[in-house]
Amino acid sequence: MNRPKFSRFMLEQYLSGELSDTERQELEHALAENPKLAEQLNDLKNDIQNFTNEIPYSSFVVEHEKRLAINQQKLSIKRLFNIRTWWPSLTLAASATAVFILFVNSDRMQNDNNVANNGTTIVSTDINSQTHLKGSSISLSAHIQEPNKKSRPATAGEIVAAGTKVQLYYNVGNFSYMAIIGIDGLGNVLRYWPEQGEQLTPITSDISETLPFALTLDSTHGREEFIAVFATQPLPIDIILKAAQNTLNESSPNQARQLNLPNDVKQASFWLIKK
């Protein structure tokens, strides 16, 4: 796996005018003496031309403007939603961690391919497309899809019906790793995200995302909390699950569970109630 002295990346930097004077002179000298390198540069130039022919700026910018507008719209909605959901939690979170709990009635599932560990149905989300928004604070929130297929932000502690689809949103803040777990009405500790692996999943900081699937609630009575845990390191998930187990006898129905985790690990939760 030998590396060329003048890499393709360097050629790209050369064409975009990002090489230092010394590097540029060295490269130009090499180009004059090395036909293979000159051919590579020519190939790169041709590829740039091919690309601009394939996807001309005029067609790119139309789509770009459209997506930008949608993104701005989502940002506005998200800001409004964040203000609403964060308001009650601000008084609770001296550490700037927003805590909500999601009570979810879960039905035990029929379709093996679409069943989460606790039986809550996982479906491809059609509630809301993913959002990618900057944010400095962590949070976990949810949208609910109503029978008319329209979605709306859920409020903490809201009463919901069986069959309701719930889409979880999370704000990563400055953290790099996260996991989402649940505690159902029967006191089972459940793992939602990541679905595989032994550690918290890496995530890009300063964004808001949705889980890539929605949860369809079943008719099981009881309380289920969804807790997002954020860390700066790839913490083992077992630690989170055990911390959740340890809270089972401590939490009262009207309080968010506080997992006993290292100080630099933060959590955010959301909850719904179903009767």
Partner: protein, 180 residues
């Protein structure tokens, strides 16, 4: 207060191809690559004011593209329980003629799924994008010695995985300091 907006035409002309080709490389699907390119441009616009000039603009844009595509691949794997395909399809129309370069890109693509995220990024920046160690370290947000350790670990994992496929494969395990 509205932040300054980038000149999207200039960005597209200078970096559009680089973004799109990298999306193609990761996603192996033109439609998804096209969609990903647009999402990357949205991110570039969002984050443009946070660009500090520590690395070249190309390095910064490539970093955003790589992070986006790797996140997308992780999400897809998790949703569908479908481990990333380890069979690498080399584009018949690929304009890259250098065999070594193709080999590197193929090897990394083949074992991408086996790598930890920080190792993934280091290997991609260094071997696929062919950044210098200094640039790759800046893109990874780590020091050059740390980058070399990650590359060393990549080689170890690559060797282990590829020995399963081809027991005769030979590796040069040394990651030298480019400045020495």
């Amino acid at each position: 207060m509205d932040a300054a907006q980038p000149d999207i035409h200039d960005l597209y002309i200078r970096y559009g191809r680089a973004i799109y080709r990298r999306c193609q490389y990761f996603l192996q699907n033109d439609y998804e690559a096209h969609d990903a390119m647009h999402e990357v441009f949205i991110k570039v616009c969002e984050k443009y004011n946070s660009y500090k000039g520590n690395a070249s603009l190309l390095t910064w844009v490539v970093k955003i593209t790589t992070n986006y595509c790797l996140n997308l691949l992780r999400t897809k794997r998790a949703v569908w329980h479908d481990r990333y395909q380890q069979t690498v399809k080399v584009d018949a129309n690929s304009r890259i003629s250098d065999t070594d370069q193709l080999e590197r890109r193929e090897i990394i693509h083949t074992i991408l799924d086996k790598l930890e995220p920080d190792i993934q990024q280091a290997a991609i920046y260094y071997y696929v994008d062919e950044m210098k160690q200094e640039e790759a370290a800046a893109a990874c947000g780590c020091s050059e010695p740390t980058l070399r350790k990650r590359l060393q670990r990549f080689l170890m994992i690559a060797q282990r995985e590829l020995k399963l496929i081809d027991s005769d494969i030979v590796f040069d395990n040394l990651i030298n300091d480019e400045k020495s």
